[in-house]
Every structure is written in structure tokens, then in C-alpha cells.
């Protein structure tokens, strides 16, 4: 089921090397990279995109693509926020997570039905639902930046530890949300590695028809997958608003492209079937460091979008090329090798 290690291990070392090289470069230019507070800041900036990237990676591994997860996260957190505010809710933050996850589940399920049962193209479906959800948020709910209930605000202030920069005296705090990320990563790892569902996701991405004949219930797997992505998006929405302490409906919109770029950069094959969580997280780390270092290195923010585009193109280009080369190598090696791979 899993491709041999040498195939999988191809992107991660490069991404890791790129991260190290970049870190050294920024350290040399600004002297601010290897400081406690910068590293904690980076980790802080990493949490939300990394949470998104887990679902995004699973979808791409299954051979699809999802651009609606930020819209789902935004609408789920906004509705949750408004309901809790209207009720004057003052209890545990877990209810906020549960509500937002539930709403995310519903929205993910719509994607799932359209993609799994009607077999519609994933990009077009998710473009459509993303437009629907953002439209509902800004149209029906007339969304604008709003306060968060005390439970969410308090949750945002829970920290694991504080790191200080001895030179500048600046301090950064590691939010408790990092634990949620760790939990999600462990869950996703177990799911992908040890369950038939996880194997099925890889199998459909490799060859849907073959997976179906091998006995995988392709519809059920896709349905569960898109529901999972919805739940994860709902949770991520609450993580985001509690970290920034206000519910800004547009704070996550547009992030989907950076996340997709990061996932693809991390070696997840865009045509499906291949990808690791390690690679995904390395990809997100690289994108986060790049985005932050634009500021550290004094590159004007106007160019950050061109930069995202270039990274998407280069990242996908490299992986597409690798895929092509591998396929070529397999063809040359003959059918026996192909069967093994």
C-alpha cells in the first residue's frame, strides 16, 4: 500500500534543508531568528495553518482538492460566536468547540455528498460551496468583526509558557492551542497509518477504480473524509478567534491557497496517493517562516502575494516533475518493478 521509503523520503529532506538554510540566512541578516521569542512567535503563527493543512493534506492524498475549508471555518466560528454572545454564554469553551465542529460537520457533509455520491469535480464543488458559505456569512448574517464570549477570550489567554528575548526584552507566549495541534496530528497519524480508512484514502488517491475493486467503500471513505475536514475546520475557526480574541469573519479567508501551497511543497503529490504528515508540517513551517521573514528581511508586504504564487508554481512543478521522472523510471524498469511500486 505504501510506496517504498525512497520514494516517500524524497521531498522532506529538501524542505527541511530549505528551512535550515533560510533560518541561517535570516539569522545572518537580522540576528533575530534564533531567539526564544521569535521561535515561539513562529510556532504561534504555525498553529492555524497547520491545523488546516492536516485536512487539506488528506483531501489531496485522496486525489481531490478543497478550497472551502477556510469558508467553513469562518462561517462555523462566526455563527457559534454570535449564538453564544446572544445567549450571554459564560460556561466552558468546550461547548464553543462542539458547536463550531458540528456546524463544520454539516458544511463538510454537503461537500461530501456532492463529491462522494454525485462524483462531481472537487475543485468546482468546493469553489461553489466556498462562495455559498462566505455569501451566507456576509449576506445573511451581515458579518463584521465582533467580540468573542468571555469563555473563548479566556481560553485564548491560556498559555503553556512564555519566552523572552534577553536583548530586546520582547516576550512571546506559547498558546495552549499548540496542544490541540499536537492532538490533531497524533489523531491524523493514527488514522492514516493504522486504520482501513487511512489506507483507503491513500488507495483512492492512487487509483480509485483499483481501490474500489480491492474492496474499499470509496463513497463512504470520501464522505467521512470531507466530514472530517469540516469538523477540523470548525475547530480551527474557534482556535483562530480565541488566539486573536475577536471574531473577524475575513481573518481566515484567502489562507486556503497558502495552505494548499504548503501541503504541496511538503511533498504531497497533487495527483493523489502520496504524502506524509511530516512533509505537510515541514511545508507549513517553511511557508510560515517565509511569510514571517518577508517582514524580518524588509521585503515589502505588497510582494507577498506574488511570492505565494511563485511558491505554489515551483512547489507543484517540482513534485509534478518528480512524479513524471518516477513514472518514467518505472516504465523503463519494466512491468515487474511497476507491480512492486
Amino acid at each position: 500500500m505504501f510506496a517504498p521509503r525512497r520514494l516517500l523520503g524524497r521531498s522532506e529532506p529538501w524542505v527541511f534543508a530549505a528551512i535550515v538554510a533560510l533560518a541561517v540566512l535570516i539569522q545572518a541578516r537580522s540576528g533575530q531568528f534564533f531567539t526564544g521569542n521569535n521561535l515561539v512567535d513562529l510556532a504561534r503563527a504555525l498553529v492555524v495553518p497547520a491545523l488546516f493543512s492536516v485536512g487539506c493534506m488528506m483531501v489531496i492524498v485522496s486525489g481531490g482538492i478543497d478550497v472551502s475549508f477556510t469558508a467553513i471555518a469562518s462561517l462555523a466560528m462566526y455563527v457559534t460566536d454570535k449564538i453564544l454572545l446572544a445567549q450571554g454564554y459564560d460556561g466552558n469553551v468546550l461547548l464553543a468547540y462542539a458547536m463550531s465542529a458540528g456546524l463544520g460537520l454539516l458544511m463538510g457533509a454537503l461537500n461530501g455528498v456532492l463529491i462522494a455520491f454525485l462524483r462531481l469535480p472537487t475543485l468546482i464543488v468546493t469553489l461553489g460551496t466556498a462562495s455559498l458559505y462566505t455569501g451566507l456569512m456576509f449576506g445573511t448574517f451581515a458579518a463584521s468583526a465582533s467580540d468573542v464570549p468571555p469563555a473563548i477570550a479566556a481560553h485564548g489567554k491560556q498559555i503553556l509558557f512564555t519566552a523572552a528575548n534577553p536583548d530586546s526584552g520582547l516576550t512571546s507566549t506559547m498558546p495552549v492551542h499548540a496542544l490541540i495541534l499536537v492532538g490533531v496530528l497524533v489523531l491524523a497519524f493514527l488514522l492514516l497509518r493504522y486504520t482501513m480508512l487511512g489506507r483507503g484514502i491513500y488507495a483512492i488517491g492512487g487509483d480509485e477504480a483499483a481501490a474500489e475493486r480491492a474492496g474499499f467503500n470509496v463513497r463512504a471513505i470520501k464522505m467521512v473524509l470531507y466530514c472530517f475536514v469540516g469538523v477540523l475546520a470548525g475547530v480551527t475557526g474557534i482556535v483562530r478567534i480565541s488566539m486573536i480574541a475577536y471574531a473577524d469573519p475575513s481573518t481566515m479567508l484567502g489562507m486556503e491557497l497558502t495552505v494548499i501551497a504548503a501541503v504541496v511543497l511538503g511533498g504531497v503529490r497533487v495527483t493523489g496517493g502520496v504524502g506524509t504528515l511530516t512533509g505537510t508540517i515541514l511545508g507549513v513551517a517553511l511557508m510560515t517562516i517565509l511569510a514571517n521573514s518577508l517582514i524580518l528581511m524588509g521585503i515589502p508586504t505588497y510582494w507577498s502575494r506574488a511570492f505565494t504564487g511563485a511558491v505554489i508554481i515551483i512547489g507543484t512543478g517540482v513534485t509534478a516533475r518528480q512524479t513524471g521522472l518516477k513514472r518514467l523510471a518505472r516504465t523503463l524498469a519494466g512491468p515487474a518493478k511497476e507491480a512492486q511500486a
Binding site: F138, T140, I312
Partner: protein, 345 residues
């Protein structure tokens, strides 16, 4: 499935495409009549037609370009980025070289050059996407998702995100000129482009190649087609059409900006799918796309006449219509497949 069933399924698809045109025409008439009843004093007046003719060519031309790429089984999500970047190249050039207050006869050569630069930019953008897709084998969705970011990003970068205004007056004067005092230049351009694309698809060898590649790229390549070159040229046409759309937007707004027309990307996908272009490639007609453009424009103009309807509802409607059309087409194609299988057995 047997060969006989395949052949008859092919016939069914062909017939259902024609059914699709009839259905679209029905939808068009329905929306038209509905809006006329709801807003008789505003909708479908001469002034309203004139304003509609000013609105749809810009996204309509992009939708035609996107449709071509979808027929080959790809997609061009970079149309809006290409349009804006082309317009910004033209605008920067005009602002840079035309001395303020120059007499019209002195400005004309600059205008011609600016238009040429914009079109060249569009071709280059399209060629870039085409190379990524055909040579580097990047899936079209991701390649053009990337080019859309890149082109928009470059446009933001070179303008610092500011609109490029203070264009020579002559540009918008020509751009907003009307033939017979009624048909705006942009509308005339749209008609010419729609007819030319229709001719290209149905009457030329190149058009037939697009359908062949979209139906089965591998078979097309074994049949001796140079897929890479055909795909490259398709994206170049899409880029060229996008730059024309960019020039139209620049004339209408009398300025160029990196973030004009952001919702047009989804709208173009919607138009193509609504118009009967199969997102998996291989089928679709310009006539269907044109009808879809008109349906959307009637709907959009009609909605504009209700003050209570927020602009954001348009996102809901576009997204909702897109999904409903997909679902509808799904059930329709299942029905005709079943019919074909029954006939064959």
C-alpha cells in the same frame, strides 16, 4: 460497456447537448419574463439593455477563454489575474509616456502601443500557464491557481496595490464609444470574439483537436496530435482574451487596479459549467456559454433593482446556482446513460 453501447451513449451525449441549449434558452426566457414582471419600469428598457451590454462583455470574454481550456480538460483560474496585469502594463505605459494635455492625434500611436503591450502581456501570461501545464505536467488547477496568485501578486507589487488612474481621456472615450449610438465597443468586441471562437471550435481542425484532447488525451496523442503545442496555444488564446477583457475593464473604470473583478473567476467557472462545458473536458459549445452569460447578466441586473438584496447574496446565488446546475446535470446524464444502456441491451 460494449462498443455499441459506447456509440449510442455518444449519440445520447450529443443529443443531450442540444437539449442543453434548449434548456438554457428556456431558462433565459424564464429569467427575462420574471424580471420583466417584477420590475416592468426598470428591467428590459432600452437604457437597461445598454447598461447590460456594458457589463457582461468583460467577464463574458474571460468565460469564453476559460471554456476553451475546460474543453481540453483543463481550467484557467488565472484569467482575472491576467486581465488585471495586462491592463496595468497598458496603464503604466500610458501614464509614463503620454505627456499631460497632449492633443488626440499625438496620443493615438501611444494608445495603439499600449493595447499591443497589453495583448502581448496576456499572450505571455497564457504561454506561461500553458508551459507549466503542458511541459511540466502540473495539473491545470494548481498551475493556474498559482499563476492567478503570481499575476495578481506582480500587479500588486508593481503598483503597490494602488489604482492606476489619470489615463489619457482619449482611451476611455474610445473604449466607451457606441456604434449607432447604442452598441458599446465592448459589446461589439464580445460578439466578434464569440463568433470567432464558435467558428474556431466547430469549423476548424484546431477546434476538433481541443475536443479530442479533452475526451481522451492519450488517444489524441496516439492519433498523432501534438498535445503539448495544442494545450499551450489554448492557454495563450485564453490569456489573449483575458487581456482584451482587462482593456475593457480599464476603459470602464478609467483606471487599472490589481484587484478589479475578483469575483469573476468563480463567475466564469459557473458560466462555463452552466453553459454545458463538461469540467472533465471534451464537450461544450460557445452558444451554450453565451446563453449562460446572458442568463447571469439578466439575473444580476434584475437583482440590482431590488435595493434590499445585499451584494453578498450574489455569492450565495452564484455558489448555489453552480451546485444546483452540477447536481441537475448529474441526474440528467444518469438518466440518459440508463436510457442508452437499455437501448443497447
Amino acid at each position: 460497456m460494449t462498443a455499441a453501447a459506447d456509440a449510442s451513449a455518444g449519440r445520447v451525449v450529443r443529443r443531450s447537448r442540444d437539449e442543453n441549449l434548449v434548456r438554457l434558452l428556456g431558462m433565459l426566457i424564464f429569467v427575462f419574463v420574471l424580471m420583466t414582471i417584477l420590475r416592468p419600469d426598470q428591467f428590459a428598457t432600452l437604457a437597461d439593455f445598454n447598461s447590460m451590454m456594458r457589463q457582461f462583455p468583460e467577464y463574458g470574454i474571460m468565460a469564453i477563454g476559460m471554456s476553451l481550456t475546460m474543453i481540453t480538460g483543463g481550467i484557467d483560474l488565472g484569467v482575472v489575474g491576467t486581465a488585471n496585469l495586462s491592463a496595468i502594463v497598458a496603464a503604466k505605459f500610458l501614464i509614463g509616456v503620454v505627456p499631460p494635455g497632449a492633443p488626440p492625434e499625438q496620443v493615438v500611436p501611444y494608445l495603439v502601443a499600449a493595447v499591443a503591450f497589453a495583448l502581448a502581456t496576456g499572450l505571455a501570461c497564457g504561454a506561461f500557464a500553458g508551459v507549466l501545464i503542458s511541459r511540466f505536467k502540473i495539473p491545470a488547477i494548481l498551475a493556474t491557481l498559482g499563476t492567478q496568485q503570481l499575476f495578481t501578486g506582480i500587479a500588486i507589487g508593481v503598483t503597490s496595490g494602488r489604482p492606476q488612474s489619470r489615463l489619457p481621456l482619449l482611451y476611455s472615450k474610445i473604449g466607451n464609444a457606441e456604434f449607432l449610438n447604442f452598441f458599446p465597443l465592448s459589446f461589439v468586441l464580445f460578439v466578434v470574439i464569440a463568433l470567432a471562437t464558435g467558428f474556431l471550435l466547430s469549423r476548424t481542425r484546431f477546434g476538433a483537436y481541443l475536443y479530442m484532447i479533452g475526451t481522451n488525451a492519450k488517444a489524441a496523442s496516439y492519433a498523432g496530435l501534438n498535445n503539448n503545442s495544442i494545450i499551450l496555444r489554448t492557454y495563450m488564446i485564453s490569456g489573449l482574451l483575458s487581456s482584451v477583457a482587462g482593456l475593457i475593464m480599464m476603459a470602464r473604470a478609467n483606471s487599472a487596479k490589481a484587484e478589479y473583478g475578483a469575483p469573476y473567476t468563480l463567475q466564469c467557472v459557473l458560466i462555463a459549467v452552466l453553459g454545458g462545458i463538461d469540467p472533465n473536458g471534451g464537450s461544450g459549445k460557445v452558444a451554450g456559454v453565451t446563453l449562460a452569460i446572458l442568463i447571469l447578466q439578466f439575473l444580476s441586473s434584475g437583482l440590482n433593482m431590488f435595493n434590499s438584496v445585499s451584494n453578498f447574496y450574489r455569492d450565495v446565488i452564484w455558489g448555489g446556482v453552480l451546485i444546483l446546475v452540477l447536481v441537475f446535470n448529474y441526474f440528467l446524464s444518469r438518466r440518459s446513460e440508463r436510457r442508452a444502456v437499455r437501448k443497447a441491451s
